[in-house]
Symmetry: C2
């Protein structure tokens, strides 16, 4: 009996490179025979602990200018839709709480991809509960129930603990992938993480 | 008549990922049929303009811990020798001035790779003029003459201007590659830069 290799996919809804990884990870992991566990978390508290009160792409202008050009280039190369959002970063707290409330992987990944498209293709405000409810509805998920559940102390605490877990395990950016305790940072390290999982799990 | 595609390879002797790129770029560019122009520069002034007085890998602990593990992993994968240096970052000013004084590409790349090995394989102090002279000597290059030339106002000014040019063109980290004005940041984007150069030059 062999165990299926697995990885944890940690993402933040405000993160541009997380959008790329979310769009690609299912096809790539299926091809590699690696199971994926989706892990929404919040970068804000992790950035704040480094003294950043805004995205480093806003704080460091040259780094930001590069990221926007890089996203444009990568989306063309990967055949992904892309529109530079008029607001960056958007507040992903509500979406992350709803994603935390969605235990079933299929529903979570469908919802997450819809939120990323809303932010980075449709340029919509992902902190708006009406939008989140509409996206849940489009996925055939019970919007009002999930929004209520997402507002519960149980889910708020679960997301806070998950973000604390991320920091404790050495995570400092998004997207990040863990294969056991081996960390891979960035959409561009997804293939390396999958190869690691296949070789060692 | 067609023009050979070309790229500029911008590197800093203190930079771990620049060591990787310097070790790989000649073989990769030869295979791709792309010419490489080596461009030593200094990251210090660029980091200082962002408010950093040390390497971000020292300032941001989790990012630093990841980088050291990542280097270890990547060097195994690429079959490159590696020893975590006991001092980081080392001052690459002298080596960058000598590299600036070496106009001929072959000599520059041989010297640069020797400096990177001294820093990241042999754990030696690359700011020591005696080491730099020994490395030049090993490459069959006139050490005393080059050290004198490297200390001239001409070379000091040339390196300062080059670093200013890097900042003006939007460069914010090392290694970086320019294909005309298209910027690629990081050793892991070398293949993308080569493909860009082939497709568009």
């Amino acid at each position: 009996m062999t165990q299926t290799p697995a990885l944890e996919f940690w993402f933040e809804f405000a993160s541009t490179y997380s959008y790329l990884a979310a769009a690609e990870i299912e096809e790539k992991s299926l091809a590699a025979g690696v199971a994926v566990v989706w892990r929404p978390f919040l970068l804000g508290p992790i950035f704040a602990s480094q003294g950043w009160t805004d995205s480093p792409f806003n704080l460091y202008r040259a780094k930001g200018a590069y990221m926007w050009r890089d996203m444009e280039r990568l989306c063309v190369e990967k055949g992904l839709a892309w529109r530079k959002p008029t607001q960056f970063p958007r507040n992903g707290l509500l979406a992350a709480r709803v994603a935390t409330a969605l235990n079933e992987t299929g529903a979570l990944s469908r919802f997450a991809k819809a939120v990323f498209r809303a932010n980075f293709v449709q340029d919509r405000d992902i902190s708006d509960p009406a939008l989140i409810e509409a996206l849940l509805d489009e996925q055939g998920l019970p919007g009002p129930d999930l929004l209520n559940h997402a507002a519960s102390n149980e889910i708020k605490t679960a997301l806070r603990r998950r973000t604390e877990e991320a920091a404790a395990r050495g995570l400092f950016g998004a997207p990040s992938v863990f294969v056991n305790d081996e960390l891979f940072w960035g959409d561009d390290r997804l293939d390396a993480a999958l190869a690691w999982a296949r070789a060692r799990c």
